[in-house]
Amino acid sequence: MLGKLDWSAIPFDQPIPLIAGGVVLVGILAVLIWVVVKGHLPYLWHEWITSVDHKRIGVMYILLASVMLLRGGSDAIMMRIQQAIAYQSQGYLPPEHYNQIFSAHGTIMIFFVAMPFVIGLMNLVVPLQLGVRDVAFPTLNSVGFWLTATGALLVNLSLVIGEFARTGWLAFPPLSELSYSPGVGVDYYAWSLQISGVGTLVAGINLVTTVLKLRTKGMNYLRMPMFCWTTLASNLLIVAAFPILTATLAMLLLDRYLGFHFFTNEAGGNVMMFMNLIWAWGHPEVYILVLPAFGIFSEVVSTFSGKALFGYRSMVLATMAICVISFMVWLHHFFTMGAGPDVNAIFGIASMIIAVPTGVKIYNWLFTMYGGRIRFATPMLWAVGFMVTFIIGGLTGVLVAVPPADFMLHNSMFLVAHFHNVIIGGVLFGAFAGFEYWFPKAFGFRLDERWGKMAFWFTFTGFYVTFVPLYVAGMLGMTRRLQHYNVAEWRPWMIVAAIGMAVLSIGVICQIMQLVVSIRNREALRDRTGDPWDGRSLEWATSSPPPVFNFAFHPDVRGEDAYWDMKIHAQQQSLEHDVPEYQDIEMPRNSPTGFVCAFFATIMGFALIWHIWWMVILGGIGAFATFVVFAWRDHDEYVIPAAEVAAIDRVNLEERRSLVSLAGAI
């Protein structure tokens, strides 16, 4: 009846996951009860859960990423404590639990923190920057988000019911095959990634189509803001790379469920094929994450330097070059596995070449700052911190791209330090910069600068104190994923790294405090102009938060830096606006399709993990029925009458004009 599921699935003998799971469960229940008792449920349902507004979906993506960042972060804290105390002792974590933690940490941080964070920011900002009303497929957008949430839910379920993979974050066979991992851990891993991967693919298709087909009047390709370009590149990579992940995981699942022989040791299976396939997805994945961050830095650096981006066209070229080259370097992930010197040399060179366009970008940001009026607001701090950190990460990257050096550093803590260096210093700093920069646009008030700066400095310092020791430990020969060790030289570095982790955690606490304090002082921090940073692109041309339709009119773009251009012209014309003729606006109707679909996907995923076949069929029928019901509805759009558009737009314009004339009087 319940497949492999019985009471032994719940780890009564292990206090840590049980207590953690219990606390989370109580927390969720408390929030749910509070929501229901206070009567917020209808608001949540109508305004958020069923919303197809790209801004709301973007915010929900970022919220999901933030929650999962805390989960993945607590895994990291546990690992650093374990390695600090596990010198000539077992430490405080049993080995099989430690193995689950490092696998979950990697999986969560890449798939459920970095991905939803950047997709959330792209969702929130790109339609605004393009001057349009929504993404190409609004309902599909909601489906994509909720499927991602399903994946995250399944990973967290594994904490209490059953176990998570002990294979590392990419589940290499034959370790992940049934004979070596007979439990449900790998199944949790594979199904949660499979489901959220569909969500990511959907988001990718949506954003590619949005950028290529939905730009406002006059927005030629070479007038798009840099963030739109990097979004395009990143989502092209998603469309090209995520199907590879889907196919690879499908093959692994066929091996595990039906006794196929793709990657097994017997009957002719080929383990190297898994390495090739998974890294053919995995390496582009790195650029899927970091390219949007590059876009964010481009926006931030140019805004806070008060200058147009230096070398815009070379930046576009560099972005697209990275997009292409990222598919030609995957083999550097297994230089040591006997491909031979010729193959290694070619992929080594390709891996080093990708540093060239990245270098172009760094110089462009530096030249943008040169001679500019730089304001060191929090987003700018993250951008500058990024440049310093990412250069170090890039240099160590070029180092491990040299095959002979890689033979020494392969699988060592040096490598761990390198990829945290680029992922934290690149993607996470970018995500935080974007968060600080676009927060006022999403919610209508700025974030507290003092707490923001503290968060930056603690995170920045904590990052170096944590990861520089790992470089050293790697040079001293320490390999990754050690549960305990007997080498005295490594120990001091592990203790310093644990201290660094504590500093890093203070940074995270500061960021939470920043949010709390800013929400409390939101009236004082209110942004009534819609343009709190003196921005240059179109998202600042509308109010904060924007009305549901974003723009009363599709803006007419005349050049790069569209909004900057408009502001200059407006000053010249001393704000003489014609009263525009408003028209009715059609907007997509809210739809529970995404939520209901994800509900059935959750049931199906859970049933597949535990081999509960009747429930799988039930979930499948439910998901299909949802699509049919969605296809059957008669009214998928509603009309906002011109009078209402006019009323909303006039209030915004009045507010803005009063502020501008006030500024003029001073």
Partner: protein
């Protein structure tokens, strides 16, 4: 299509070429939908290419089991191919009928497409069942694993296509040729034709090349 050339003012023409291509604004819904679906199809083809690659890597790994030339039956494959290619034609007829709002030819075209698809699936199913009955199932060797997965993945797509086809017929029956139904019909047709293209790949790489080994 969407682009129009206009003589621009100096501001829009930084290089003083004299002619600038001004972007006219968001594309119409039909274009956007078709474009998005094309992007999806490309991603689907990438997924198939992984199974093709796996087949190419594993084709000689027979683990003392049968080789391709020992199990493939050219006659069946020929019938399957004819069915699928014909169904693409009838699907095209149904699309044209939908465009000119002709219900009779639409239903007829779709029904024939459906029957041809089902014949294709039946032959494939029988081929698989026979192989399993002879002890040549997918777990016999890595070659058979790759064969069953690649061909089965295509079969799964055809099955999904048949389900979609029936849903489309029901939609036209219930809603008529509404704009959104027509957009979906266009996507379905693209999907069905793409399956045909992939079958040409399967049939060449698996059956034609495989029979020579």
């Amino acid at each position: 299509m969407a682009m129009t050339a206009t003589v621009g003012h100096a501001h829009a023409d930084p290089h003083h070429i004299g002619v600038v291509i001004e972007h006219p604004g968001p594309a119409p819904k039909r274009t956007v939908t078709a474009y998005g679906f094309w992007v999806f199809l490309l991603s689907d083809i990438v997924m198939f290419s992984c199974f093709f690659a796996a087949y190419a890597v594993l084709v000689s790994q027979t683990a003392d089991g049968p080789k391709g030339s020992e199990i493939f039956e050219q006659r069946n494959v020929a019938i399957e191919t004819v069915c699928l290619l014909l169904s693409s034609f009838t699907c095209g007829m149904a699309s044209i009928a939908a465009d000119v709002r002709n219900r009779f030819w639409f239903y007829l075209g779709m029904a024939v497409t459906c029957v041809l698809g089902l014949i294709f699936l039946a032959i494939e199913f029988k081929e698989f069942a026979d192989l399993v009955a002879r002890g040549y199932g997918p777990s016999r060797s890595a070659f058979l694993t790759a064969f069953f997965s690649l061909v089965g993945c295509h079969g799964l797509h055809v099955s999904a296509g048949v389900l979609w086809l029936l849903t489309m017929m029901a939609q036209v029956f219930a809603k008529g040729f509404r704009a959104d139904v027509l957009r979906r019909m266009m996507c379905f047709a693209l999907f069905w034709h793409a399956l045909d293209i992939i079958w040409v790949g399967v049939f060449s790489v698996v059956y034609l090349l495989g029979s020579g080994v």
